[in-house]
Symmetry: C2
Subunit: 210 residues, 2 copies
């Protein structure tokens, strides 16, 4: 029983019967359901059970299963971008700011109850992408955004003298994204959080120091 599922009374309500559930909270629960079992492995009944809504209400609010999934995917990316921004745009040194990305990501991957769920994109969207152009598009754009964010940070490190002027910021960014994807993959298959953190630490040191 989460708090905040009920709609807040501060919204201007139009005319009919008020919604029993907050759309954002419902989407978050739907996202958690997809997160566990993947797109194909999650039924509308599962989502209905997770949100407390019933199927017709779900349909009226968010459309069909595909529509619900696309919205949860977009929401996930938004939170991921925010995480990147918070981690990379601070005053930390390069290695520390990268570790902030990986630490915050691991917190996400090991969040929720039950075994680690990994990254929502790597854990659910990659499988669905093969038969779904819209998912392909969202995932591609998302990872390119991560690449760009990392690249900006490496560039900044060059101008600040933390990184050799000859370093290739773009390629380092690709390796930083790959590191994130590797953590995501390994988290979902049962790796211990501490060992993943140690892995990230070593990879970061190699990317920054080497």
């Amino acid at each position: 029983m989460r708090d905040g599922t009920k709609i807040s009374a501060t919204e201007k309500r139009s005319r009919g019967r008020p919604r029993a559930y907050d759309p954002q909270a419902a989407l978050a629960q739907a996202r958690d359901a997809f997160w566990k079992a993947g797109y194909a492995g999650t039924s509308l009944d599962d989502i209905a059970a997770a949100t407390g809504m019933n199927r017709p209400s779900l349909r009226a609010a968010f459309g069909d299963k595909h529509g619900i999934y696309l919205r949860t995917l977009a929401d996930y990316w938004a939170s991921k971008f925010e995480l990147m921004h918070a981690a990379l745009d601070g005053d930390d040194r390069l290695a520390n700011s990268l570790m902030k990305v990986y630490d915050a990501s691991l917190a996400l991957y090991f969040g929720g109850e039950g075994p680690a769920r990994g990254c929502f994109v790597v854990g659910t969207a990659i499988t669905a992408a093969h038969a779904d152009v819209e998912v392909q598009q969202l995932v591609t754009e998302g990872f390119l955004t991560l690449d760009a964010a990392f690249a900006r940070r490496f560039e900044r490190a060059k101008t600040e003298g933390e990184l050799a002027a000859a370093a290739d910021a773009t390629t380092l960014a690709l390796l930083a994204t790959a590191t994130l994807q590797s953590l995501a993959v390994r988290a979902r298959t049962g790796a211990a959080r501490a060992s993943l953190r140690a892995m990230a630490r070593k990879m970061v040191d190699t990317l920054c120091g080497g």
Copy 2:
């Protein structure tokens, strides 16, 4: 209509009606079916259609859906290990041997008909792993094997003087595996093969040169 689906006549046959299909070929087609739609997205009817067998025959030969999947996963890893072996254990210089791994992998990821399917493990097993301890186990072991193979190759490069003695072969191996996983992810979401190859090239150069 593939050739080699029919059983070869050279096997000693026991007593009853002979099998109409070669188990290995059938498993390969089942693997292709899973590869496209993932574990949850593939039904036994899909597999029956892909193999040309009917459900009772599938069941008698390989067990239920889960059993079929585990066998295809094990087969995939075996071929992947062989690929690694062929690429890394030759006389090539370090960077070239790594590129052989990525080139052979891309050939696999872009194989089959239709859009690129990416890596079987990343594309199907990661999603399934969350609810399946056996899949978790197989995937974990598989990636650790890749890590070890890369690490051996980096160590060899150190003894052969291609890599600085101070280089951390273990961490470089983690980055090499992460590079492979990144290619796998991006291939399934529509990236062009040429751009992925260029990506791999740059990452390899940074890992070896930097």
